[in-house]
């Protein structure tokens, strides 16, 4: 009986996680794609060499995104760790965080009137490290040097 109650709770949490999580993910991707289309004209490159021509003002721009895992993904990934293989559920999570961070960095650069961001770097952190439930909260930070024309 007690086990049935636990299973029911688990099923409920999984259902909430699945429906809420996939709905959020779908909407987030829609938003990411729309903003990417818009911000694509502001290039962000990994090159460490600034363009030699022109006089640019340089400024550090940072974009930071923190995304929480949902219970369904957590459960799925747990099962996946047992058998091995790609954890698709976490790949989208990381993809979203990374793209969101870049978009925020670009938005900041655009606000300053930048033409280019160079020397773009990423940092990631697992904020739930060491927590018992290990549910997973990830942070991706993108930063680079924005080049703003005119001095």
């Amino acid at each position: 009986m007690e086990i049935l109650v636990q299973l029911a709770i688990l099923a409920f949490l999984l259902m909430v996680g699945y429906f809420a999580g996939s709905r959020r993910e779908r909407r987030h991707y829609q938003s990411i794609m729309a903003r990417e289309k818009h911000l694509n004209r502001l290039p962000a490159v990994a090159s460490r060499v600034p363009p030699a021509d022109g006089r640019y003002q340089q400024r550090l721009v940072v974009g930071n995104a923190v995304i929480a895992n949902d219970y369904f993904k957590f459960f799925l990934a747990g099962l996946r760790q047992f058998f091995g293989g790609r954890i698709h559920a976490y790949e989208t999570l990381m993809d979203r965080a990374r793209r969101e961070a870049v978009l925020r960095m670009k938005a900041e650069a655009q606000k300053c009137g930048a033409e280019l961001i160079f020397n773009v770097r990423y940092e990631t952190a697992n904020l739930s490290w060491g927590l018992n439930n290990g549910m997973g909260v990830i942070e991706v930070m993108a930063y680079g040097t924005a080049l703003i024309p005119g001095r």
Partner: protein, 274 residues
């Protein structure tokens, strides 16, 4: 220099056609299969190992759990003890495997055998006994469990199951307390049938016929039909009781043991002792 970001197509870092529910279902099925296989293997090994534990060690273990008090009424104790000894001779109990009888003043219609050679009889059951033959069948059945080492095997298996459940649901098993020890030992179908067969043999040895052996299952059946839900009765008790009756009849048939005969009455004072 011309800097440009081209549009990156979707699906390079993710799997666009991924169906999480399908993946979860397959993984779950796989995990359940693995858990079942592991549990079955562990249970089998534990059952086999448990029988290797010496009976003296089992008694030592059971002493920690201090079951209910022994029979207090001296007349009842003497009567039950005599019956027990007569049965023990018939059943050829191994050296050092002594049975301790206990009596519980409660209306529960039950009797059970547990760790350390302890057999517990409830007033409810003794009151329902029509004759000595039936009582002997009950007692012999419980003694057979002990002779077959069923309590310690059941304990081992129960511990395995509890550990598996605990590891799945993320809780450590509760420390085994006295009541759990006494009542949660589940004997499986094979154990019950083996105990019945041994008890029937003892009954025949003692009285020359099997009268009293079948009455018991009819009683169980009548009780359980009243108490349990229909599905429960169907899945658990009904087939087992029918199977037990069938086995007894087959056993009697094969060995040419008469199914009925002259029954030995219970001592008339028994109801005063209870």
């Amino acid at each position: 220099m011309d800097y440009r970001n081209s549009h990156i197509p979707e699906g390079i870092n993710t799997a666009p056609g991924h169906k999480p529910l399908t993946e979860a279902a397959w993984l779950l099925v796989g995990a359940v299969v693995v858990v079942i296989l592991v549990t079955v293997a562990l249970t089998a090994v534990t059952g086999w190992l448990a029988k290797l534990v010496p009976f003296s060690q089992e008694k030592h273990l059971a002493a920690r759990f201090a079951p209910v008090a022994p029979v207090t009424n001296s007349s009842l104790a003497a009567y039950l003890d005599t019956l027990k000894q007569r049965l023990a001779r018939q059943m050829e109990m191994p050296e050092g495997m002594d049975i301790t009888l206990h009596y519980v003043d409660d209306e529960t219609v039950n009797a059970f055998a547990t760790l350390g050679g302890h057999v517990v009889l409830f007033r409810g059951l003794l009151e329902k006994m029509p004759d000595e033959n039936t009582l002997a069948m009950v007692l012999a059945h419980e003694m057979a469990h002990i002779k077959h080492r069923d309590p310690i095997v059941a304990l081992g298996r129960g511990t395995v199951l509890a550990s598996v459940l605990a590891s799945i649901f993320g809780r450590t098993p509760a420390p085994l307390d006295a009541t759990a020890m006494l009542t949660l030992l589940n004997y499986n179908r094979r154990m019950e049938l083996a105990a019945d067969a041994a008890a029937a043999r003892a009954l025949y040895g003692l009285y020359g016929h099997l009268s009293g052996s079948q009455w018991l299952f009819q009683l169980f059946e009548a009780m359980q039909h009243g108490k349990k839900a229909a599905w429960e009765a169907f899945f658990q008790t009904h087939p087992l009781n029918a199977q037990r009756l069938q086995q007894l009849r087959a056993l009697a048939d094969r060995n040419h043991w008469p199914l009925s005969g002259k029954v030995t009455p219970l001592p008339p004072e028994l109801h005063d002792w209870l």
